[in-house]
Amino acid sequence: MNTAASPRIGLFWFASPQTFFPLAGKMVPLFSLLAAGLLLVGLYIAFLVAPTDATQGESYRIIFIHVPAAWMSMFLYLVMAFWAAVGLVFNTRLSSMMATAIAPTGALMTFLALWTGAFWGRPTWGAYWVWDARLTSELILLFLYLGFIALQAAIDDPRRADKAGAVLALVGVVNVPIIYFSVQWWNTLHQGASVSITRAPSMATTMLWGMLVMALAFWMYSIAVVLHRLRSIILERERRTEWVRELLREGRIK
């Protein structure tokens, strides 16, 4: 049963929870540190460098969390669906665990994108919410994440939960391009490409940099929290294996 630890299959070496667990443990503090550093720089640019917007005043500063959250909400869904599919096809436990670990963070990013969008929509459009194609498809994304989480929670056998969740995740993938292209395919209140701030070049540059740094911070944060959650999921699911018991005996997990 523990032969999974032998490096004979190369690519599948880290597909074993036993080998990935300590590696993830080293990656969590690294990515947390990167996230914290980038967040500080990003907030510095967002509030102390980026100038006031000529048309939207200071309300536009919401962009520095709205756009990164929206990007992450879609990107995390694709990554989640990818690992769910890998787990489904190759029957690798760790891939499915990765998908399960991503879902809560994806749901939170989606919620944050919707929330900040509402708080930006009110001063700019005069409404917290409209049934616009972009907003509605993003709301469906939130329901897909919540559906994935609820479905997996409702099935007792983890491997069956993995498979059912994977099917749901894969069906839902069609929603991601719909969100992304919604502003082109339909007449929406939501603005088009996020980076199209046609203003004096220097201003556009600081805004763009602020957004990119914040996006990178959100990315590093997501990696850190997902890996941390993955380690807990591994401990939950592999608690009857000898290697987990060994770690506990050696006092390396507490």
Binding site: I65, P104, L108, S232, R249
Partner: protein
Amino acid sequence: MNWGSWDNFLRMGGYGFFVWGSYGMAMAILVIEVWQLKVRRRRAVTELQREAARRSA
């Protein structure tokens, strides 16, 4: 960007509620998620220790 005073900074040109409402929610989500991670980890390890104690008993 020069805000002049803390008051101006917090007022955000009249958009304080919307700007801080957004950043506040982002902060709240971060705190809740990290706290949730700690709880889950704690629970998993406690369960492991309980099973180990049961085995040795």
